[in-house]
Symmetry: D2
Subunit: 366 residues, 4 copies
C-alpha cells in the first residue's frame, strides 16, 4: 500500500490515507516521490478559495521523483522525444490533459485556457488515483509531459523555486524586459523572488522589490535585488516617491505584480512609467474589486497591462534550463526554509499560510 | 489682416479676431486654409476639461490648406523629403516640436510622451500666432511635418475622418487584429467609425459596434459593421450576452474602446475573450474612476490591455495611404454632416457637443 | 466499392482504383467528397520532387465533403467543440497527426515542424486507406481537425483558393504588413493571388504583383492588384526600376515570394526597402542554390527575412472566416478555371503543370 | 593648439596634426579626451573598404572625455534631460545628425537608415573640425547625444567593449532570445564577445562561441561561453556536428553572426534549428557574394533571418546600464589588451588589423 496526504475538503485537517499500487496503462509512469512543493495555492485550496476543486484531493502540483515503473507496451517519452527509463529522476508538468484540439489550443494559441486542462494536486481527485505529489508515489497518466532533471540540477534546487519559477518565467516573458530596464517586482513570495532573478537574466539595469516580511526581503537582496522596500514600513505614496527617485522621475519601465492583493494593481500602474509595461500574475484568487482611473492610469499613460494565467510545458522546460545554467550565480536551495514528512504536511501548510517560510517541501522519504 | 476664430477661455463665446500676416522664418510655411475639423477635443477645450491649455487659442488641429508662401532660405520638405511649393494642397501633423532628443523620443521610443510636444489648436496659444486651423491662414513653423494629399484624395475626404483616423489607426495597430478575428468597437463617434473600417482592413471576420445615437450606428452599418448594438436600448448584460452569442460563447478576440465613459472599460474587459486584447483609446479626459476585478477581469482572463495615447507622423502618413487606397470602398465624405464658415464656429461646436452631427468642418472660404 | 484516383509513383499515369468502404473507429468520420483541389504540389508529387512520399498515394489535400457517417462511440467534434453530424458540409486540415507533445509542438511552438505530422494526399499512403481527396469518399481518422463551412460560404468558393489561402495567410501573418505599406507579391499562382487579396485585408497602400502568364496577371488585377508586372516582358533590372519608381525610390515595405524559383529570392531582397520585411513561402521544392550579397542585401539593408513552411489549424480556420466575410468583395469562384471528374484527373494534373489554369478542381460527383 | 591623429586616405600612414581650439556654438561641447577605442571599422577605413568616407578624417568613433567647455547660451543636456557641466565624464553617440524628420526617422522608424546620419570618426571630415576621438579634444556639435558615465562605471570599463556593446545589444535585441535558449555566436571579436555576455543576460541556457584565435576564445570562456569552437581547428561539417550534438540534434535556437566572412552566413543558417532565428550583424563591408539553398536553408527550415545595421541612442544608453550593473560579474577591463598614445596610433591600428589584441584604446593623456 502507498501512503498519501489527503485534503478531504476546505478547512478539514489533512489525513494520511493508504492507496493500492496502481495498474499502469500503456504510456503511464509510476514515480517514487523525492519531493513535492508546498505553495500558496495549497493554502488557497485549504481555505476553499478556488472554484471547481474535486475534493478529496492529494495536494502537491510541482514534484520530482524517480521513475519506479513504466506502463506496458507504448514507451513513455520525455519532452525531447527520448524514451524514459526506471531510475531516472524526472519532474512533470502538473497541467494534464490539455487537448491540443480545441479552439484555444489551436486557433487561439492559448493552451492555458483549454477547457480540458486538469492540474495534478489541484483539479484531479484522490478518488481517481495518486494524482498529487504529497504521496509516496505519483501516478503519471499517459500523455503527462515528462522532463528529466539534467545532470547538475539537484532535485532540491529545482523544488526550491517550485511552481514559482515557471509562473514567473511566463510573467517575465510577457513583460518583454529590455536591456537596462528598471524593473519593479511587487511581492516577495516565490513568484516575486523568481521574477527578481529573471529580471536580471533579461539584463535589467535595476531591480526594485516591494514586499515583506523582512526574511523574504533579505532573500530578495541575496538574489540580487538592487533595492528592497518593506510594505509594512512604507505608505503607497512613499513607495511611489521612492520608485520615482530611483528612476529619474519616470517610474519603472516594467512592473511585475505578484502579491494577490487587489489594491496592489492600481499602485503598480502608478509605479510604472508612461508607455511602460505592467504584468499582473499574482491575482490568482478572487478577493474583491479594485479601482483605477482609466484616463490617468491607462489611456494618457499609454500603459500596456498584461494578465498572466498559468504556465505550459515551454515555461517549465525553460525554467529547468535556467535553474541548471545559473545555479552557481543563484543559490536556489537557500530558499528552502523547511522539509516536512508526509506526517507533517499539516504543519507545512500552516507555516506557508503564515508566511513563516519562503519555500517548504514535502519529502516523503524523510 | 487675417481672420481667425479665438477661444478666449473655457465657456466663453468664440470670437472672430484679426491677425497680421506673419513673417515667415526659413523653413516655415503659410497655409491658406481649405478646411479644418471640429472634433470632440474642441468641445473638451471649450468645457475646460483639458489641463495646461494656454488660452486664448485658435482651435482646429487637423486641417488642410494650400501653400500660400514659404519662408526664405531653407526649403521646407514633406515627410518623404520632397521640397514643397506654393499651390500644393497639404495637411500637417498637429503635433509640433517633438524634440527627437529626450529620453522618451530616443530610449523610450514613445514620442507621444515627449515633454516638448505641442499641439496646433490645443496647446499653442493664439498669443504666439496663427497656430490653429479655424483661421483663414495657418502658420506652420519650421519643423512641422508636412504631408501633401495624393492625387485621388479630395481634401474633404481626408477631413471627413479628421483626427479620428490616425487615432484609430494607432489603436488598431496596437490591437494586433488577426485575420478572421471578431472585433468589438465600443463607441460610434469618429474614432469608433474609423476603427470599424480599419478592423475590416485587417481582415476581421466580424465587426460589432456598440454605440449610439442611431444616426451614428447607421453610419457604422454603412461602413461595414456586421452588427450594431444601441447602448440606449440595451443593458450591459444584454450587450454581453449578444457578444457571447455572436462569438460561440468566447467573447471578442479584440475590443477597441472609443467612448470616453469610465464604466465602459470594465464592460469592455468582459466583452473580450480569455487571452484576448483590449485597447483603450477613448478615455481622453479625466471623468472619474472605474472598478474592475483583478482576478476575474485580468489575471484569470489572461487579458492584454493597452492604453493608447496620441498619434505620430507615421499614423498620419498611413492614414492618408488608407484613405486614398480604399476611398472607393468607403465613401468617407458621407461622414460630413455639415460645413460651417468661420462665423458659424460656435454653432459647429455646439452641434458636435450635442452629437447632432458625425463630423463637422470649418471651411473659411465658405 | 469506392473509386479513387491513385498515383502509383512519379511519372506513372494516374489510375482509378476501387477501395472497400472503411470500418470507422470511434471519432473517425467518412466524408462524401464534393470537391478536391489540384495544386502545384500535386504536380511536384507526380514529378517526384518531394522526398519521403509513400507511393502509391491518393492525391488531393484540400477537400470538402458531406459527412456520410461517423464512427461509433466517441463523437467527433469540430474545431469550435461542437459535435459534427451526418449531412454537414465540412473541410478538414490536411495535416494529420501533429502530436502536441514533442519539443516542436510544445517548447518550440512550431507545430509545422512536428516530426509526427502527416499530410492527407501527400505523405499518407493509399495502402492505408482513403487518405486523399481525389476519391468518392475520404476517411478522416480520429483527431483530424474538422471545420464546417459557414452558411454563406459555398464549397466551390472555398476550394477556389484551395491550400493557397491558408499558405498565403501564414505568409501574410509573418509579413506583419502595416496600414498603408507597399507590398510586392512575387508570383501569381494561387498563393500569390491570395497574398494579393490578403495584403488588401491588411490595409496595404499599394499592391504590386510580379508574375505571369497574362491570364494570372489579369486575375491579379481583378482581385485588386494596383500594378502587375509580367516577368516574361521585363528584365530583373526593369522590375527593380519599376518598384523603385512606384515607391519614391525606397523599395517595397514588404515583399512576399511565391514563385518556386531560387533566383527570385535575391531579386526579392533587392525589391524590398531598407529595414523592410521579406517572406519566402514559394521555395517548396529543392531546385538549386541561389546567390546573394550578405553585406548589401542583408546587413546594410537591415533586412528581415522569414521563411514560411506549412500551415496549421489556425491558418485554415482564419482562411474560412476571411473567405466568408469578404466573398462579396472578392469573387473567389472566378479563380476556378475547370472542374474535372475522377476519370479526368490526369488531364487536370497536366493543365495545372502547364499553368493553363489558375485553379482546377476534382469533382467526383461530376 | 590641439593634437589629433589624421588618416589622410586609405593606406596612407597616420599623421599627427595640430588644430586650433574650436569656437563653440550654443549647445556645443568641447571634450578633453580620456580614451577612444580602436576597432575593426578603423582598419576597414584604413584599407579603404567603406564607401563615402570624406578623407582626411580623425578616426575614433566611441570615446569618453571630460567636459572642458560648453558653448554659450543654450545649455547642452544629456539624454535624460539634465544639463551637463564642465568636469563631467561623458560619452556620446557617434552617430550625429539623424534628422528626426525624414521618412525613415518617422514613418519607417528605422533611424539607422536616415540619410542625414553622419558618424564621428567615420563620415565626418577632419576638414570640418575635431570630429573624431583620436585627438586631445573632441568637438561635439549641438545635438550630439550626450551620456554621462554613471558612478561605478570606470571609463576604461566602458571603452573595453567599445562600439561592440551597442552593436551586439542591437543584434541581441533583434535575436529575441528566450529563457533557456541555446545561442551560437559566430565570431569572437568585440561584437561576438559582447553577444556572448548579452546572451547570458537574456537567460540563455547554453552559449556556444565559434571563432578564433585562441586568445579571443579564452576571453569568450572567461566571459561565460559554455563551449568554444576554434575555426582554425575544425571544418564546417565538424562545427555543424558539434552544434548538432550539443542541442539534441535540433541546432541552435538562435545564432548571431559577427564574423565579416560571407561564407559564414550559409554556415550560420545551417547551425540554426528549424523555426529558429538568425541575426547577421558582422557583414559590415562588401567582400563578396555567398550561396545558400532557398528551399533547405530558408523555406523548409522556417528560418527567421534579420540583418542588423548600426545602433542608436537607446542601444548606447542600454549598454551603459548593462556595463554598470553587471560589471562585477563580467570584468570588462580585462578585454583591453593595450593602450596607445596618439603617437602610437599606427601601431594600434596594425595590432587590431592583425587580431593581435582584443581591444586597443587610444589614450591621449598617456
Amino acid at each position: 500500500m502507498i501512503s498519501a496526504v489527503v485534503m478531504a475538503g476546505p478547512g478539514q485537517p489533512l489525513e494520511l490515507r493508504e492507496f493500492p499500487r496502481p495498474e499502469l496503462e500503456p504510456g503511464a509512469v509510476l514515480l517514487k516521490t523525492l519531493g513535492s512543493e508546498v505553495c500558496g495555492t495549497d493554502t488557497h485550496l485549504w481555505q476553499g478559495q478556488l472554484a471547481g476543486v474535486p475534493y478529496p484531493i492529494i495536494p502537491g502540483h510541482v514534484s520530482v521523483g524517480e521513475i519506479a515503473a513504466v506502463g506496458p507496451g507504448a514507451v513513455a517519452r520525455d519532452v525531447s522525444g527520448r524514451p524514459v527509463e526506471p531510475g531516472q529522476v524526472v519532474t512533470f508538468l502538473d497541467v494534464y490533459g490539455t487537448c491540443g484540439r480545441c479552439w484555444f489550443c489551436t486557433v487561439g494559441q492559448a493552451t492555458t485556457r483549454c477547457p480540458e486542462r486538469r492540474v495534478y494536486g489541484v483539479t484531479l481527485s484522490a478518488r481517481d488515483g495518486l494524482l498529487g505529489g504529497w504521496a509516496e508515489y505519483i501516478e503519471l497518466r499517459p500523455g503527462v509531459h515528462l522532463l528529466p532533471l539534467p545532470e547538475g540540477l539537484d532535485w532540491r534546487a529545482f523544488l526550491a523555486t517550485g511552481c514559482g519559477m515557471p509562473t514567473a518565467l511566463h510573467a517575465a516573458t510577457l513583460a518583454e524586459i529590455q536591456f537596462g530596464d528598471t524593473v519593479v517586482v511587487q511581492g516577495s513570495g516565490p513568484v516575486g523572488l523568481c521574477a527578481t532573478v529573471l529580471a536580471q537574466l533579461r539584463g535589467a539595469g535595476k531591480v526594485i522589490v516591494i514586499g515583506g516580511p523582512s526574511a523574504r526581503l533579505a532573500a530578495a537582496s541575496a538574489f540580487g535585488a538592487d533595492v528592497v522596500i518593506d510594505i509594512a514600513e512604507t505608505t503607497a505614496d512613499e513607495r511611489r516617491q521612492a520608485v520615482h527617485d530611483l528612476t529619474g522621475g519616470r517610474g519603472a519601465d516594467v512592473t511585475i505584480e505578484a502579491t494577490g492583493v487587489p489594491a496592489a494593481v492600481r499602485e503598480g500602474m502608478r509605479l510604472t512609467r508612461d508607455a511602460g509595461r505592467y504584468v499582473v500574475v499574482g491575482q490568482y484568487t478572487n478577493v474583491g474589486d479594485a479601482r483605477f482611473n482609466p484616463h490617468l492610469d491607462l489611456n494618457q499613460k499609454h500603459l500596456d497591462i498584461r494578465g498572466c494565467w498559468g504556465s505550459d510545458v515551454g515555461h517549465l522546460y525553460r525554467s529547468i534550463q535556467v535553474l541548471t545554467r545559473y545555479g552557481t550565480q543563484f543559490p536556489w536551495t537557500t530558499l528552502i526554509s523547511g522539509e516536512y514528512s508526509l506526517h507533517d504536511a499539516q504543519t507545512a501548510l500552516e507555516d506557508v499560510a503564515a508566511q513563516r517560510v519562503v519555500k517548504a517541501l514535502i519529502v516523503p522519504g524523510r
